[in-house]
Every structure is written in C-alpha cells, then in structure tokens.
C-alpha cells in the first residue's frame, strides 16, 4: 500500500480500534459528540477483499478510490464538506460483506457505499443497502445486478457487465464462419459470459462447435482438453475468472491448443497476466474496462494515470483499480451537483450525470443504472515486444460507449 492510501486507512483504523478498545461506555458516551462532528464530513464506505486471492486488486481499488477522494478534498470538498473513505475488509465473502456494510451504515453512519470485487459480495451489499435506502455504487462485473429482480433504485453499476464485455470482445475477435468452442465456469459469471458470447456469435455468424461447463474453482483442466481439441474449433473461448482463467489458459497452452486456435476470454486481468507470465498469455484476446496504455490517445486517462503515478511512486493503475476511481468520482460528482448528501437528490444527479474521469464519456442508464461506457479489447503481448514490466497488452479496439452493447430495458424486465 502506498503512502496516500495508507494514511487514509490508518487514520480510520486508529479511530475505530480506539473505540473497540475502550468498549461500551466510552464509545456510547462519545456518540453525541461524534454525531455532531459527522454532519460536517461526508463518509463513503468501501468494502473490498483486502484478504484472499484478490487482495492485490483490492489494494489497487483502495488506492484509486483514495485518489478520487483526495482530489475532491484538495479542491475544497463537496460544498465545503470534507470527504472521508472508510475501507473495510469484506474477505471476498458475502456474509462478511453484509456484516461490514451493516456496520458502516449503522455505526459509522456512512452516506454511501462504493465497492465489491465479486458478484456475490456485490449482491450482498446491494441487499443491505436496498433495504435501508443507502446509495451504492457497485464496481464488480455482473449481469444479475441489472435485472429487475435485483434492481435497487439506490444502486448504480459502474463496472462493465458481462453482456457488454462479450459483445465488444466478440465484435473484434470473431468473424463470420468462425468455429467457436466454449469452456465455461459453471456458475452465474460463466453462464452470463457464455450467453453474451453466443448472442454476439448469432449476430456475427460464428458457429458454436461445442461447450463444456467446468466446475467452479477447478485446478486441473487437462481432462477437458482432448474433447475441446476434438471439436476442432478456430477459437477457444474461455469464460471464467481469476485463478480459474490462469489455470485453464496455462493448461490449454500446455496441450498445444494455441498452435491451432485463438484463445479468447471475456476479461483480461492485469494482475492475473502478471501472475502467470507473458508466454502463457501471449496472443490471448480479452476485454477490459481500463488499461493504462489508453493514455496515448485519451486525455482523461493521461490525467488519471499521472495523478496516480504522483502518489504511488510512478506505478500505474490497473483495471479493477480504475473502477475504484471512476466509481467514487461519479458518486462525488453527483453529490456536488446535488449540493450535498440528500439521497433522492443524489440519485437524480447520478441519473443525469455525464462524466469523463478516466476513460472517456460515461453515463448511467436510467432504467437499470448501468454505466454506459467504452469497452477495451486487448491482446496480450509476447515477452519480446514488451517495452516495460507493465507493458502487457496491445489495444485491439476501443469500442465506444453505446447502449447498443447492452440488453434493452424491456429485455431486463423494466417497464418500457
């Protein structure tokens, strides 16, 4: 963790642990005083999995969210009120996330929540905030959150959703007549990605030659390889996430699949690519919400990267980190427009907001509160052509923001 973010978290931590230490009397008696001071400060709760397999992504999210907060505070806050970020560890567990969110709402009296890195955590937080009328900006990929069943008027979905990601990736990697084999993680995320890809295929005219569902969290994929090969596809489309993606691509490469077919994934993760190495990922194509290399032609990305480099010893922000930045920024911009933290006003402001803070113009769609935004299609570079340690991908395309990539409101179950 770098200095900027550590300060913010530490400041928070010390206050909380003091409360815990003093126990009942102290914390309870202190309440009236705290409550008065709290009117001044705008508090944003930020649950994220600081422990567990996505800790690196989570730390990056915290850094980026802290950067957004710092930028607003440096400019004098929101209507003169300072903004404070309250980071909590959700341990990548929905139950833990629900508990932390309850604490943030009930004890810390936050004005809004931003965060989550997995679909389950996101839906757990959504459940808690929906019942209590708290604004929540969610920053983890999911189609479910857009659908009417889980819709909350208080929730805004800043992350890409599987449908738009796959639509963009397919548009730039599938061609008419391609034969596509699917290896799909057997849970909601995988199913959503598969559905998106197949729909895009139907439009493009690429044929599905077979699909294999693999168990979520499997470590060995060798047993699927002979069958995938026997399907003789031109494209192997692997719809899974994180460790599953790393393992399955690594083993597909071991089986020599890359010589015969192109590997396409819905999402290429910066940190996962670092963890597995350039040779395995070489030539793999996938989508992303953000890649630092965008800066060459995009002034917002350049500004975001520079601000991040400034506080983080020249490091660059990653994809999931950028969600932390855009998510918090959009919320604060809306609060600024609403002139405070009044929930209804902020909701209206978010719905009307047009923002461009890191990657080009974005806007929340009114019916499902999905952020309409550009989708990057990336291809992993080979080791020899990397110019630096973080020069990981070539940008194949930057599919511009458009509702064409999304399912229509009526399709999601919203009244027209």
């Amino acid at each position: 963790m770098t200095e900027g973010s550590r300060n913010i978290t530490r400041q928070k931590l010390s206050r909380r642990s003091v409360l815990a230490g003093f126990g009942a009397g102290a914390s309870y008696l202190a309440m009236p005083w705290v409550a008065r001071a709290q009117d001044e400060i705008i508090r944003i709760g930020f649950p994220t999995p600081l422990t567990g397999p996505f800790a690196a992504e989570a730390r990056d999210q915290v850094k980026c969210a802290a950067l957004a907060v710092k930028q607003f505070n440096d400019k004098g806050g929101i209507n003169g009120r300072k903004v404070e970020l309250l980071v909590r560890d959700d341990k990548l567990n929905g139950g833990e996330a629900a508990t932390r969110t309850l604490e943030l709402i009930e004890k810390d009296k936050v004005h809004a929540i931003v965060g989550a890195l997995s679909s389950a955590v996101q839906l757990a937080v959504n459940e808690v905030t929906r019942a209590r009328g708290i604004i929540y900006v969610s920053i983890s990929q999911s189609d479910t959150i857009n659908e009417v069943k889980d819709f909350s008027k208080y929730t805004f979905h800043e992350a890409l959703n599987p449908h738009m990601t796959t639509a963009a990736v397919a548009r730039h990697s599938f061609k008419k007549g391609n034969k596509v084999a699917h290896l799909v993680a057997d849970y909601a995320y995988g199913h959503e990605m598969l559905r998106g890809f197949k729909r895009a295929q139907a439009q493009i005219g690429a044929e599905t030659v077979g699909e294999i569902l693999h168990p979520f969290g499997a470590a060995d994929y060798s047993t699927f390889m002979p069958r995938l090969r026997s399907m003789r596809p031109g494209i192997l489309c692997i719809s899974n996430f994180g460790r599953d993606q790393a393992n399955s691509i690594k083993q597909a490469v071991d089986f020599g699949m890359k010589q015969q077919m192109k590997i396409v994934v819905p999402v290429l993760l910066h940190n996962q690519r670092l963890a597995v190495g350039p040779d395995v990922y070489e030539g793999v194509v996938g989508g992303a919400n953000y890649y630092w290399g965008l800066e060459s032609g995009n002034p917002s990305a350049k500004a975001f990267n520079d601000a991040y480099r400034d506080g983080n010893r020249n490091a660059i922000p990653t994809d999931y980190g950028a969600y932390g930045y855009t998510g918090v920024s959009s919320l604060l911009l809306a609060m600024q427009a609403a002139g405070g933290t009044d929930t209804e006003k902020v909701i209206t402001a978010l719905e009307d907001l047009k923002y461009d803070v890191a990657k080009g113009p974005q806007q929340y769609r009114k019916c499902d509160h999905q952020s309409v935004q550009s989708v990057l299609v990336l291809e992993s570079k080979k080791a020899a052509s990397m110019k630096s340690e973080v020069d990981l991908f070539d940008i194949v395309a930057n599919e511009p923001a458009s509702t064409d990539l999304l399912r229509s409101c009526s399709e999601l179950g919203f009244p027209a």
Partner: protein, 288 residues
C-alpha cells in the same frame, strides 16, 4: 464417443492421478506411522511450489528446484514435528489435527506476506515444453515426465520400505508402536524422519504441479481436500491404498469430465461416500 477420445481421457486421468497419488501418499505415511492427520498438508504443498520456484530462480534451473525444494521443506517438516506436533503425542488424536489446521492458516498468510497474494509465474522447464503424439492424440511432454517421475518415486519408496532396515522399522512401527520400544529403536527419530518424508512428498507434489497450474497462496486448499478423499478411499495409512485410490479418483474425474464435465469435482466426493458406505475403513484400510 470415439475410442481415441476415451483412451486419451483415460490417459489424462492417469496423469491427474499421479499428482493425487504423490500428495495423498505423504498424508497417508504420516497418518499410518504417527496417527496424525496433517491438515497443513495442502499448505505445505503450496509452500513446496513456492520453494521450488525460489530455488529455481536462484539457480536458474528447474531441476535444482525439483531436487532441493522437497528436501528443504522436508527438513522444515521435521522442525514442525519436533517443535509443534511432538508435545501433543499422548493427548487426544484431535489435537495434532487442530494444530496443523491452524498451521495451515499461518503458512498461507506467511506466503502472502513474502511473495504477495497474486501468485507468480512458474514456467515449464524448456526441455519439457511441447506435446507428443501418443497415437490417439497429443499430450504435453511435461505431464508424461510427471507420470514417469511419480513412478520412479514410488519405486524408490517401495525399495526403501521393503529393503532397508529403516523401512522395516517403519512398517513394524505402523503396526505396533510398542514393538519399537522393545526392540530398542529410538522412536522419536523415526517419527521425525517419517514426518519429514511425508511433508517432503507434499512439497514434491507442489513443485511438480507448479508448471501445470498457477502458483498462488490458495493452491493448496483444493489439494488438501483431494488428498483427504484419496487417502480415505484408499484406507488411511495404507500406502497401496493411496496409490490405487489416487489413480481411481483421477480416472473417475477424467471420465466424468467427458460425460458430465460440470460434475467433475463432485464425483470424487460422491465416490468417497459410496466407498465408505460399502467399506467404512476404505479399500485397503484395516478396521480401527
């Protein structure tokens, strides 16, 4: 389904089974001799992979990592036995189980602190990159190498247990510890070596798995469950049982992958439930 595919699938199952065998064997040896269920086995598997990677990066050669890491982690296992597990003998059999459960947490977190939580690349040794045509399909050379190496290790283990004095002591001790005292064998030393051997096998499994999977702090979690299933099916403490059950589970998984792929993880637990209902002590186990 054509025959080629089924044969190929069978072969994948054997390769998968080879890794299962080597990790389950370590678990089984420790249990058979010491009566300790090592819940840190998965974590030690993971530590082995990291150690192999570390040694390989220092020496620039995978082969040094393969050789040194299991010995290094085996020695570490001896320290664990001596410092942590030994004080628990004579207490409830649950105590070492609980202790190693806590140790697993500590090891995983320690690796996260030292090497980061994301995982690091573990490249396949250049000599073993690529695939060969088996006649029924293409198979990675590295996986063939793993099968060969596991057979070699099993052979060495068998020779060690059958043909050496130490092996004799271990086999006798597993049957009846009191005999050892009568024979004047320092049982403490035997425990130490056996625990080290079991942990070393876990580490070897980790190094071997490194080039096939992503190396990360959580990689041992599933391995632990798999190793348990294999040892329980085979019969706790039975070395032959671990070998047969490892192959059985590997093949069951690969065959399920062919017909109902999304069930490939459940199948091993289901297999175990069935075996235990018919034979509660496992295929080769003795009744308690």
């Amino acid at each position: 389904m054509d025959t080629e595919l089924i044969l190929m699938q069978l072969f994948s199952g054997v390769a998968l089974g080879a890794i299962l065998v080597i990790t389950a064997l370590g678990l089984s040896i420790i249990f058979g001799m010491l009566g300790v269920v090592n819940f840190a086995h998965g974590a030690l598997f993971m530590v082995g992979a990291y150690a192999g990677l570390w040694v390989a990066s220092l020496t620039g050669s995978f082969w040094w990592g393969l050789l040194v890491a299991p010995i290094m982690i085996g020695a570490f296992g001896m320290i664990i036995e001596f410092v942590l597990v030994r004080p628990l003998y004579g207490r409830s059999i649950d105590d070492p189980l609980l202790l190693t459960f806590g140790l697993g947490y500590v090891l995983v977190e320690a690796v996260r602190i030292i090497f980061g939580s994301d995982g690091i690349p573990f490249p396949t040794p250049p000599q073993l990159i690529g695939v060969v045509d088996l006649g029924v399909g293409f198979f990675p050379i590295y996986r063939l190498f793993v099968i060969g190496l596991v057979i070699l290790v099993l052979l060495l283990l068998w020779l060690g247990l059958e043909k050496t004095r130490f092996g004799l002591i271990v086999r006798a001790g597993a049957r009846d510890p009191t005999i050892m005292r009568v024979l004047g064998v320092d049982i403490g030393k035997v425990w130490l070596v056996v625990f080290g051997l079991g942990v070393g096998l876990a580490a070897l499994g980790g190094v071997l798995a490194g080039p096939m999977r992503s190396v990360n702090p959580e990689m041992g979690s599933l391995v632990l469950a798999e190793a348990f299933v294999v040892t329980v099916i085979g019969g706790l403490g039975s070395l032959l049982g671990s070998i047969v059950a490892g192959l059985l589970v590997g093949i069951a998984i690969s065959m399920t992958a062919l017909f109902a792929p999304e069930m490939a993880t459940i199948v091993m637990f289901a297999l175990m439930a069935v075996v235990l209902l018919i034979r509660p002590q496992g295929l080769f186990g003795k009744l308690a």
